[in-house]
């Protein structure tokens, strides 16, 4: 592979401890963030003389971004009826995804919800009579949203005059109704299955 660094590859990089450019070896190593968290398996070059980390490979930058995004992500817990979680799993597996990869479903749900614009409010209100909403809420799921999505989603909640949990449950009802095709399409992008298959 030409475009990425492999473990054991060599580079010459500046070492603060040894002074000047030194031979160094690339290895997957833990990377400590300024806030103390550790990101595993970051490709870094260690000075062959003193062992100090002297460089990092750009191919690992996505891991750092992900860790930084996680820090700013808004997390929330939502109580759901088991039936709704079963529905989510079914949608995931029917799209060729891992049936427990719930984060893909939430991502698709948020995307489709926000794409609807103001129309989503009427949709949420229409679901009020769906019997699935009265089922006992036996399971708790953790949702994680980026700051931007969280801000937009909170705006939807405010317009609908509902809390986050209620909006999520009603969105799942819509995902089994008028939003179904759009959700499937959004999920297919995670599964890399061509639309129409």
């Amino acid at each position: 592979m030409r475009s990425i660094v492999l473990e054991g590859d060599k580079v010459e990089a500046p070492c603060e401890k040894c002074g000047g450019f030194v031979p160094a070896t690339w290895r997957y190593l833990p990377y400590r963030l300024a806030d103390g968290r550790v990101v595993d398996d970051v490709m870094q070059a260690q000075c062959d003389t003193c062992g100090q980390v002297v460089a990092a490979a750009d191919q690992s930058a996505h891991l750092i971004k992900q860790a930084l995004d996680d820090r700013s992500a808004h997390r929330t817990k939502v109580r759901l009826p088991q039936e709704m979680l079963d529905f989510v799993s079914l949608q995931l597996s029917q799209t060729g995804l891992d049936a427990t990869a719930y984060e893909h479903f939430w991502h698709a749900l948020f995307r489709v919800c926000l794409d609807q614009g103001p129309d989503i409010i009427a949709g949420l209100i229409k679901t009020a009579e769906d019997p699935a909403l009265d089922a006992p809420r036996r399971v708790t799921v953790n949702l994680s949203m980026g700051q931007h999505v969280d801000a937009l989603f909170q705006h939807v909640c405010k317009l609908a005059k509902m809390d986050t949990s209620k909006v999520i449950r009603r969105l799942i009802v819509l995902a089994d109704g008028e939003l179904h095709d759009k959700i499937v399409l959004a999920l297919r992008q995670f599964a890399l299955v061509p639309a129409g298959r």
Binding site: S3, V11, E12, G20, F21, V54, A55, A56, D58, A61
Partner: protein
Amino acid sequence: MSFTDARRKVVEALRNGNVFHVARKDMEEKNWLWARRISREEAAAIIEGTRGTQFSCSPYHQDPSVEVLVFRPSDSHIKCYLRNGVWFISFHKAGDES
């Protein structure tokens, strides 16, 4: 290295992914490219837009045979150097260059 050559080569390195990052304390806070607060393509576009008056070139303090190229567009500070065909590039917001 002339400004035109430097700009062309650094932009090419960013677009080809031939970029590495020098390890520094808290580098994910200071180096926007490493933290991907800016993409390689965005960094390349910013460098493409720099003018000769926003460029300087000086010997690397620990090894004078290496040239340190610095681009200073309005709100950024981009430091680059080439060693054995490998580019080390750091992208900072102005005032956070350390």
